[in-house]
Symmetry: C2
Subunit: 243 residues, 2 copies
Protein backbone atom coordinates (compact mmCIF):
# COMPACT_ATOMS: atom_id res chain seq x y z
CA UNK A 1 0.00 0.00 0.00
CA UNK A 2 1.12 3.57 -0.64
CA UNK A 3 2.33 5.09 2.56
CA UNK A 4 3.19 8.51 3.96
CA UNK A 5 4.94 8.91 7.28
CA UNK A 6 4.44 12.39 8.75
CA UNK A 7 7.54 12.54 10.91
CA UNK A 8 8.28 14.89 13.80
CA UNK A 9 12.08 15.09 13.92
CA UNK A 10 12.29 17.08 17.17
CA UNK A 11 14.59 20.08 17.57
CA UNK A 12 17.13 18.85 15.02
CA UNK A 13 19.87 16.89 16.77
CA UNK A 14 19.78 13.18 16.09
CA UNK A 15 19.75 12.16 19.79
CA UNK A 16 16.42 13.92 20.25
CA UNK A 17 14.72 11.89 17.51
CA UNK A 18 12.72 8.84 18.51
CA UNK A 19 13.67 5.39 17.24
CA UNK A 20 10.34 5.35 15.40
CA UNK A 21 11.17 8.57 13.53
CA UNK A 22 14.63 7.30 12.73
CA UNK A 23 13.34 4.05 11.24
CA UNK A 24 10.54 5.78 9.30
CA UNK A 25 13.14 7.99 7.60
CA UNK A 26 15.56 5.10 7.09
CA UNK A 27 12.81 2.95 5.54
CA UNK A 28 11.47 5.59 3.15
CA UNK A 29 12.17 5.79 -0.55
CA UNK A 30 11.93 9.58 -0.46
CA UNK A 31 12.17 12.28 2.21
CA UNK A 32 10.09 15.39 1.50
CA UNK A 33 10.15 18.66 3.44
CA UNK A 34 10.85 22.33 3.77
CA UNK A 35 14.52 22.85 2.85
CA UNK A 36 15.56 23.99 6.34
CA UNK A 37 14.25 20.75 7.88
CA UNK A 38 15.71 18.63 5.10
CA UNK A 39 19.09 20.20 5.91
CA UNK A 40 18.71 18.97 9.50
CA UNK A 41 18.18 15.31 8.61
CA UNK A 42 20.23 15.02 5.41
CA UNK A 43 23.52 14.42 7.28
CA UNK A 44 21.98 11.37 9.02
CA UNK A 45 20.72 9.84 5.77
CA UNK A 46 23.30 10.99 3.24
CA UNK A 47 22.30 8.55 0.49
CA UNK A 48 18.56 9.09 0.67
CA UNK A 49 16.70 10.82 -2.15
CA UNK A 50 15.18 14.06 -0.86
CA UNK A 51 12.79 16.60 -2.28
CA UNK A 52 12.91 19.99 -0.63
CA UNK A 53 10.46 22.82 -1.08
CA UNK A 54 10.40 26.47 -0.06
CA UNK A 55 8.59 27.99 2.88
CA UNK A 56 4.85 28.66 2.77
CA UNK A 57 4.26 26.04 0.09
CA UNK A 58 2.68 23.68 2.56
CA UNK A 59 -0.25 22.51 0.44
CA UNK A 60 2.00 21.98 -2.56
CA UNK A 61 4.52 20.04 -0.46
CA UNK A 62 1.85 17.72 0.95
CA UNK A 63 0.32 17.15 -2.47
CA UNK A 64 3.77 16.24 -3.77
CA UNK A 65 4.12 13.69 -0.97
CA UNK A 66 0.81 12.08 -1.96
CA UNK A 67 1.75 12.05 -5.65
CA UNK A 68 5.07 10.35 -4.94
CA UNK A 69 3.33 7.84 -2.69
CA UNK A 70 0.89 7.17 -5.53
CA UNK A 71 3.83 6.27 -7.75
CA UNK A 72 4.49 3.46 -5.27
CA UNK A 73 7.06 5.12 -3.03
CA UNK A 74 7.10 5.10 0.75
CA UNK A 75 7.42 8.78 1.57
CA UNK A 76 8.48 10.54 4.77
CA UNK A 77 7.31 14.12 5.16
CA UNK A 78 9.50 15.79 7.80
CA UNK A 79 8.32 18.42 10.29
CA UNK A 80 10.47 20.14 12.91
CA UNK A 81 9.42 19.42 16.49
CA UNK A 82 6.22 17.37 16.53
CA UNK A 83 4.35 16.47 13.34
CA UNK A 84 0.97 17.33 14.83
CA UNK A 85 1.68 20.63 16.65
CA UNK A 86 1.63 23.34 13.97
CA UNK A 87 2.96 20.55 11.71
CA UNK A 88 1.82 18.88 8.52
CA UNK A 89 -0.29 16.06 10.00
CA UNK A 90 -3.50 18.11 9.91
CA UNK A 91 -3.00 19.23 6.32
CA UNK A 92 -2.14 15.67 5.23
CA UNK A 93 -5.44 14.44 6.70
CA UNK A 94 -7.29 17.31 5.00
CA UNK A 95 -5.84 16.34 1.62
CA UNK A 96 -6.24 12.61 2.26
CA UNK A 97 -9.84 12.66 1.02
CA UNK A 98 -8.40 13.22 -2.48
CA UNK A 99 -5.94 10.32 -2.09
CA UNK A 100 -7.94 7.61 -0.31
CA UNK A 101 -5.56 4.81 -1.33
CA UNK A 102 -2.66 6.20 0.73
CA UNK A 103 -2.00 5.02 4.27
CA UNK A 104 -1.02 7.78 6.71
CA UNK A 105 1.17 7.20 9.75
CA UNK A 106 1.80 10.14 12.09
CA UNK A 107 5.11 9.77 13.94
CA UNK A 108 5.28 12.13 16.94
CA UNK A 109 8.33 14.19 17.90
CA UNK A 110 9.64 16.40 20.68
CA UNK A 111 8.08 19.87 20.28
CA UNK A 112 9.95 23.07 21.26
CA UNK A 113 7.91 23.56 24.45
CA UNK A 114 9.41 20.28 25.69
CA UNK A 115 12.96 20.46 24.31
CA UNK A 116 13.29 24.15 25.17
CA UNK A 117 11.75 23.50 28.57
CA UNK A 118 14.41 20.91 29.37
CA UNK A 119 17.12 23.49 28.63
CA UNK A 120 15.52 26.22 30.77
CA UNK A 121 14.76 23.91 33.72
CA UNK A 122 11.16 22.84 34.24
CA UNK A 123 9.11 25.84 33.09
CA UNK A 124 5.98 23.87 32.11
CA UNK A 125 5.80 21.63 35.18
CA UNK A 126 2.13 22.42 35.63
CA UNK A 127 -0.86 23.21 33.36
CA UNK A 128 0.28 25.16 30.31
CA UNK A 129 -0.78 26.62 26.98
CA UNK A 130 1.04 26.76 23.65
CA UNK A 131 0.33 29.80 21.46
CA UNK A 132 1.85 30.78 18.12
CA UNK A 133 2.31 34.54 17.62
CA UNK A 134 2.28 34.15 13.83
CA UNK A 135 -0.74 35.87 12.29
CA UNK A 136 -0.15 34.47 8.81
CA UNK A 137 -2.92 31.91 9.32
CA UNK A 138 -4.65 33.19 12.46
CA UNK A 139 -6.28 36.62 12.99
CA UNK A 140 -4.26 38.71 15.48
CA UNK A 141 -7.47 39.34 17.48
CA UNK A 142 -7.77 35.62 18.22
CA UNK A 143 -4.10 35.46 19.28
CA UNK A 144 -4.71 38.43 21.62
CA UNK A 145 -7.76 36.75 23.08
CA UNK A 146 -5.86 33.52 23.71
CA UNK A 147 -3.01 35.38 25.41
CA UNK A 148 -5.51 37.12 27.67
CA UNK A 149 -7.37 33.89 28.52
CA UNK A 150 -4.12 31.99 29.20
CA UNK A 151 -2.90 34.74 31.53
CA UNK A 152 -6.25 34.88 33.33
CA UNK A 153 -6.10 31.11 33.86
CA UNK A 154 -2.57 31.53 35.29
CA UNK A 155 -1.25 28.99 32.77
CA UNK A 156 2.41 28.64 31.96
CA UNK A 157 2.70 29.62 28.31
CA UNK A 158 5.08 28.59 25.55
CA UNK A 159 5.11 31.14 22.72
CA UNK A 160 6.05 29.83 19.26
CA UNK A 161 7.05 32.06 16.33
CA UNK A 162 7.59 35.06 18.64
CA UNK A 163 9.19 37.17 15.92
CA UNK A 164 9.97 37.50 12.23
CA UNK A 165 11.28 40.20 9.92
CA UNK A 166 7.82 41.61 9.41
CA UNK A 167 6.64 41.05 12.98
CA UNK A 168 9.51 42.40 15.07
CA UNK A 169 7.18 43.98 17.67
CA UNK A 170 4.76 41.07 18.17
CA UNK A 171 6.45 39.78 21.32
CA UNK A 172 6.25 43.26 22.79
CA UNK A 173 2.54 43.46 21.92
CA UNK A 174 2.00 40.02 23.47
CA UNK A 175 3.81 41.03 26.67
CA UNK A 176 1.69 44.16 26.92
CA UNK A 177 -1.43 41.98 26.91
CA UNK A 178 0.03 39.63 29.53
CA UNK A 179 0.96 42.68 31.65
CA UNK A 180 -2.71 43.62 31.91
CA UNK A 181 -3.09 40.47 34.05
CA UNK A 182 0.40 39.67 35.41
CA UNK A 183 2.92 41.81 37.26
CA UNK A 184 6.17 42.89 35.57
CA UNK A 185 8.24 40.66 37.86
CA UNK A 186 6.65 37.40 36.62
CA UNK A 187 9.40 34.89 35.81
CA UNK A 188 9.88 34.25 32.09
CA UNK A 189 12.56 32.74 29.87
CA UNK A 190 13.55 32.01 26.33
CA UNK A 191 15.71 29.51 24.47
CA UNK A 192 17.47 30.16 21.17
CA UNK A 193 18.55 27.46 18.67
CA UNK A 194 17.24 24.57 20.79
CA UNK A 195 19.33 21.42 20.32
CA UNK A 196 21.47 23.13 17.69
CA UNK A 197 24.71 25.06 17.54
CA UNK A 198 24.42 28.34 19.42
CA UNK A 199 21.84 27.04 21.91
CA UNK A 200 21.33 29.66 24.63
CA UNK A 201 18.83 30.05 27.46
CA UNK A 202 17.93 33.25 29.31
CA UNK A 203 15.75 33.67 32.41
CA UNK A 204 14.29 37.13 32.96
CA UNK A 205 11.16 38.96 34.14
CA UNK A 206 8.09 39.70 32.05
CA UNK A 207 8.97 43.41 32.28
CA UNK A 208 12.43 42.70 30.88
CA UNK A 209 11.08 40.34 28.22
CA UNK A 210 8.78 43.11 27.00
CA UNK A 211 11.87 45.13 26.05
CA UNK A 212 13.83 42.23 24.55
CA UNK A 213 14.17 41.51 20.86
CA UNK A 214 14.24 37.77 20.06
CA UNK A 215 14.63 36.12 16.65
CA UNK A 216 12.51 33.56 14.84
CA UNK A 217 14.61 30.64 16.12
CA UNK A 218 13.56 31.35 19.69
CA UNK A 219 10.86 29.82 21.90
CA UNK A 220 9.58 32.02 24.74
CA UNK A 221 8.26 30.76 28.08
CA UNK A 222 5.92 32.78 30.30
CA UNK A 223 5.70 31.71 33.94
CA UNK A 224 2.64 31.28 36.09
CA UNK A 225 2.45 33.04 39.44
CA UNK A 226 3.99 29.87 40.95
CA UNK A 227 7.08 29.88 38.74
CA UNK A 228 10.42 30.61 40.41
CA UNK A 229 14.14 30.73 39.71
CA UNK A 230 16.29 28.01 41.32
CA UNK A 231 20.03 28.20 40.65
CA UNK A 232 19.42 30.04 37.41
CA UNK A 233 16.77 27.56 36.20
CA UNK A 234 13.13 28.47 35.47
CA UNK A 235 10.99 26.08 37.51
CA UNK A 236 7.22 25.71 37.91
CA UNK A 237 6.69 23.26 40.79
CA UNK A 238 3.77 20.91 40.54
CA UNK A 239 3.42 21.02 44.31
CA UNK A 240 4.81 17.62 45.39
CA UNK A 241 7.02 19.27 47.95
CA UNK A 242 4.09 20.84 49.78
CA UNK A 243 2.36 17.48 50.39
CA UNK B 1 30.77 14.59 39.18
CA UNK B 2 27.60 13.09 40.64
CA UNK B 3 24.88 13.06 38.04
CA UNK B 4 21.14 12.61 37.82
CA UNK B 5 19.37 12.23 34.51
CA UNK B 6 15.67 13.04 34.76
CA UNK B 7 14.44 10.97 31.83
CA UNK B 8 11.15 11.24 29.98
CA UNK B 9 10.54 7.76 28.55
CA UNK B 10 7.49 8.69 26.45
CA UNK B 11 4.36 6.53 26.40
CA UNK B 12 6.21 3.27 27.16
CA UNK B 13 7.12 1.52 23.93
CA UNK B 14 10.81 1.57 23.15
CA UNK B 15 10.40 3.04 19.63
CA UNK B 16 8.90 6.20 21.13
CA UNK B 17 11.96 6.85 23.33
CA UNK B 18 14.58 9.27 22.06
CA UNK B 19 18.15 8.10 21.48
CA UNK B 20 19.17 10.48 24.27
CA UNK B 21 16.81 8.83 26.76
CA UNK B 22 17.96 5.38 25.68
CA UNK B 23 21.64 6.22 26.21
CA UNK B 24 21.01 7.97 29.54
CA UNK B 25 19.35 4.80 30.85
CA UNK B 26 21.99 2.53 29.32
CA UNK B 27 24.79 4.61 30.85
CA UNK B 28 23.35 4.81 34.36
CA UNK B 29 24.46 2.75 37.34
CA UNK B 30 20.95 2.80 38.76
CA UNK B 31 17.45 3.43 37.42
CA UNK B 32 15.03 4.90 39.96
CA UNK B 33 11.28 5.40 39.53
CA UNK B 34 7.68 4.67 40.34
CA UNK B 35 7.21 0.91 39.98
CA UNK B 36 4.78 1.20 37.05
CA UNK B 37 7.32 3.17 35.02
CA UNK B 38 10.17 0.90 36.04
CA UNK B 39 8.11 -2.01 34.70
CA UNK B 40 7.95 -0.25 31.32
CA UNK B 41 11.73 0.12 30.90
CA UNK B 42 12.98 -2.97 32.75
CA UNK B 43 12.53 -5.28 29.72
CA UNK B 44 14.86 -3.03 27.68
CA UNK B 45 17.60 -2.99 30.32
CA UNK B 46 17.23 -6.42 31.95
CA UNK B 47 20.58 -6.37 33.74
CA UNK B 48 20.36 -2.89 35.18
CA UNK B 49 19.97 -2.32 38.92
CA UNK B 50 16.66 -0.62 39.60
CA UNK B 51 15.04 0.92 42.64
CA UNK B 52 11.28 1.25 42.47
CA UNK B 53 9.04 3.18 44.81
CA UNK B 54 5.30 3.41 45.31
CA UNK B 55 2.98 6.10 44.06
CA UNK B 56 2.78 9.48 45.79
CA UNK B 57 6.23 9.17 47.29
CA UNK B 58 7.66 11.71 44.91
CA UNK B 59 9.81 13.68 47.34
CA UNK B 60 11.18 10.49 48.86
CA UNK B 61 11.97 9.06 45.44
CA UNK B 62 13.83 12.20 44.34
CA UNK B 63 15.79 12.35 47.60
CA UNK B 64 16.78 8.72 47.10
CA UNK B 65 18.07 9.59 43.62
CA UNK B 66 20.23 12.37 45.10
CA UNK B 67 21.53 10.12 47.86
CA UNK B 68 22.54 7.41 45.42
CA UNK B 69 24.19 10.02 43.18
CA UNK B 70 26.08 11.25 46.24
CA UNK B 71 27.45 7.76 46.69
CA UNK B 72 29.07 8.24 43.30
CA UNK B 73 26.48 6.60 41.07
CA UNK B 74 25.11 7.96 37.83
CA UNK B 75 21.36 7.78 38.39
CA UNK B 76 18.45 7.91 35.95
CA UNK B 77 15.12 8.93 37.39
CA UNK B 78 12.40 7.80 34.98
CA UNK B 79 9.17 9.68 34.28
CA UNK B 80 6.41 8.58 31.91
CA UNK B 81 5.85 10.94 28.99
CA UNK B 82 8.03 14.03 29.37
CA UNK B 83 10.22 14.61 32.43
CA UNK B 84 9.17 18.26 32.72
CA UNK B 85 5.40 18.08 32.15
CA UNK B 86 3.87 16.97 35.47
CA UNK B 87 7.16 15.06 35.86
CA UNK B 88 9.99 15.00 38.36
CA UNK B 89 12.25 17.68 36.81
CA UNK B 90 10.70 20.50 38.85
CA UNK B 91 10.94 18.62 42.14
CA UNK B 92 14.55 17.61 41.41
CA UNK B 93 15.43 21.29 40.91
CA UNK B 94 13.60 22.20 44.13
CA UNK B 95 15.60 19.64 46.10
CA UNK B 96 18.86 20.47 44.30
CA UNK B 97 19.58 23.32 46.69
CA UNK B 98 20.23 20.65 49.34
CA UNK B 99 22.52 18.69 47.00
CA UNK B 100 24.57 21.36 45.23
CA UNK B 101 27.32 18.94 44.15
CA UNK B 102 24.99 16.94 41.87
CA UNK B 103 24.72 17.73 38.18
CA UNK B 104 21.19 17.57 36.77
CA UNK B 105 20.39 16.73 33.16
CA UNK B 106 16.76 16.85 32.04
CA UNK B 107 16.12 14.51 29.10
CA UNK B 108 12.82 15.35 27.39
CA UNK B 109 10.28 12.77 26.23
CA UNK B 110 7.07 12.48 24.21
CA UNK B 111 4.16 13.58 26.42
CA UNK B 112 0.67 12.03 26.11
CA UNK B 113 -0.76 15.10 24.33
CA UNK B 114 1.67 14.37 21.51
CA UNK B 115 1.67 10.56 21.44
CA UNK B 116 -2.09 10.38 21.96
CA UNK B 117 -2.58 13.11 19.40
CA UNK B 118 -0.75 11.08 16.76
CA UNK B 119 -3.10 8.15 17.36
CA UNK B 120 -6.27 10.28 17.15
CA UNK B 121 -5.16 12.24 14.07
CA UNK B 122 -4.01 15.82 14.54
CA UNK B 123 -6.18 17.12 17.40
CA UNK B 124 -3.71 19.77 18.64
CA UNK B 125 -2.75 21.18 15.27
CA UNK B 126 -3.31 24.72 16.52
CA UNK B 127 -2.93 26.59 19.86
CA UNK B 128 -3.72 24.28 22.76
CA UNK B 129 -3.74 23.92 26.52
CA UNK B 130 -2.81 20.97 28.74
CA UNK B 131 -4.73 20.62 32.00
CA UNK B 132 -4.57 17.91 34.66
CA UNK B 133 -7.88 17.08 36.34
CA UNK B 134 -6.14 15.71 39.41
CA UNK B 135 -6.87 17.83 42.47
CA UNK B 136 -4.34 16.05 44.70
CA UNK B 137 -1.91 18.95 44.32
CA UNK B 138 -4.10 21.65 42.77
CA UNK B 139 -7.30 23.17 44.20
CA UNK B 140 -10.34 22.13 42.15
CA UNK B 141 -11.37 25.81 41.86
CA UNK B 142 -8.17 26.58 39.92
CA UNK B 143 -8.76 23.59 37.62
CA UNK B 144 -12.30 24.84 36.96
CA UNK B 145 -11.02 28.32 36.21
CA UNK B 146 -8.44 27.01 33.76
CA UNK B 147 -11.06 24.88 31.97
CA UNK B 148 -13.26 27.96 31.63
CA UNK B 149 -10.40 30.16 30.38
CA UNK B 150 -9.19 27.52 27.89
CA UNK B 151 -12.72 27.12 26.50
CA UNK B 152 -13.19 30.89 26.24
CA UNK B 153 -9.92 31.15 24.34
CA UNK B 154 -11.17 28.40 21.97
CA UNK B 155 -8.01 26.39 22.67
CA UNK B 156 -7.74 22.71 21.89
CA UNK B 157 -7.32 21.03 25.24
CA UNK B 158 -5.57 17.84 26.34
CA UNK B 159 -6.89 16.59 29.68
CA UNK B 160 -4.49 14.50 31.79
CA UNK B 161 -5.57 12.35 34.75
CA UNK B 162 -9.23 12.53 33.72
CA UNK B 163 -10.33 9.92 36.23
CA UNK B 164 -9.35 7.79 39.20
CA UNK B 165 -11.11 5.56 41.70
CA UNK B 166 -11.93 8.50 43.93
CA UNK B 167 -12.60 10.96 41.11
CA UNK B 168 -14.90 9.01 38.80
CA UNK B 169 -17.09 12.04 38.04
CA UNK B 170 -14.35 14.63 37.41
CA UNK B 171 -14.48 14.34 33.62
CA UNK B 172 -18.23 14.88 33.76
CA UNK B 173 -17.74 17.96 35.93
CA UNK B 174 -15.08 19.25 33.54
CA UNK B 175 -17.36 18.71 30.52
CA UNK B 176 -20.16 20.60 32.26
CA UNK B 177 -17.84 23.61 32.61
CA UNK B 178 -16.78 23.37 28.95
CA UNK B 179 -20.46 23.14 27.96
CA UNK B 180 -21.10 26.59 29.44
CA UNK B 181 -18.94 27.92 26.58
CA UNK B 182 -19.02 25.26 23.84
CA UNK B 183 -21.91 23.49 22.14
CA UNK B 184 -22.59 19.82 22.78
CA UNK B 185 -21.56 18.87 19.22
CA UNK B 186 -17.95 20.07 19.64
CA UNK B 187 -15.57 17.35 18.37
CA UNK B 188 -13.67 15.53 21.13
CA UNK B 189 -11.70 12.32 21.45
CA UNK B 190 -9.82 10.10 23.83
CA UNK B 191 -7.01 7.55 23.67
CA UNK B 192 -6.55 4.64 26.06
CA UNK B 193 -3.24 2.86 26.77
CA UNK B 194 -1.23 5.04 24.38
CA UNK B 195 1.66 3.11 22.83
CA UNK B 196 0.85 0.03 24.91
CA UNK B 197 -1.19 -3.13 24.55
CA UNK B 198 -4.87 -2.32 24.31
CA UNK B 199 -4.36 1.06 22.65
CA UNK B 200 -7.72 2.41 21.50
CA UNK B 201 -8.91 5.76 20.17
CA UNK B 202 -12.46 7.10 20.13
CA UNK B 203 -13.80 10.25 18.46
CA UNK B 204 -17.06 11.63 19.83
CA UNK B 205 -18.89 14.86 20.67
CA UNK B 206 -18.53 16.87 23.87
CA UNK B 207 -22.10 15.93 24.74
CA UNK B 208 -21.27 12.23 24.38
CA UNK B 209 -17.98 12.62 26.25
CA UNK B 210 -19.88 14.13 29.19
CA UNK B 211 -21.67 10.80 29.62
CA UNK B 212 -18.63 8.58 29.07
CA UNK B 213 -16.63 6.92 31.82
CA UNK B 214 -12.89 6.77 31.07
CA UNK B 215 -10.14 5.24 33.19
CA UNK B 216 -6.91 6.66 34.55
CA UNK B 217 -4.88 5.35 31.60
CA UNK B 218 -6.74 7.63 29.21
CA UNK B 219 -5.89 11.04 27.76
CA UNK B 220 -8.85 13.16 26.65
CA UNK B 221 -8.81 15.71 23.82
CA UNK B 222 -11.27 18.60 23.56
CA UNK B 223 -11.60 20.24 20.15
CA UNK B 224 -11.71 23.91 19.29
CA UNK B 225 -14.55 25.24 17.15
CA UNK B 226 -12.31 24.56 14.11
CA UNK B 227 -11.81 20.88 14.86
CA UNK B 228 -13.40 18.38 12.49
CA UNK B 229 -13.60 14.67 11.74
CA UNK B 230 -11.89 13.44 8.57
CA UNK B 231 -12.17 9.71 7.82
CA UNK B 232 -12.60 8.97 11.51
CA UNK B 233 -9.62 11.09 12.58
CA UNK B 234 -9.87 14.15 14.89
CA UNK B 235 -8.21 17.03 13.04
CA UNK B 236 -7.66 20.68 13.95
CA UNK B 237 -6.40 22.39 10.78
CA UNK B 238 -3.86 25.13 11.18
CA UNK B 239 -5.33 26.86 8.16
CA UNK B 240 -2.72 26.18 5.45
CA UNK B 241 -5.37 25.01 3.06
CA UNK B 242 -7.23 28.32 3.17
CA UNK B 243 -4.18 30.34 2.03
Amino acid sequence: MNKIYVVGIGPGKREAMTAEAESALAGSDLIVGYSKYIDLVRPYFPNHPVLDTGMRKETERCRMAFEKANEGMTVSLVCSGDSGIYGMAGLIYELSTEFPETEIVVVPGITAAISGGSVLGAPIGHDFAVISLSDLLTPWELIEKRLKCAAEGDFNIALYNPSSHKRHDYLQKACDILLTVHSADLICGYVKNIGREGEAAVVLTLGELRNTQVDMFTTVFIGSTRTKVINGKMVTPRGYRDV
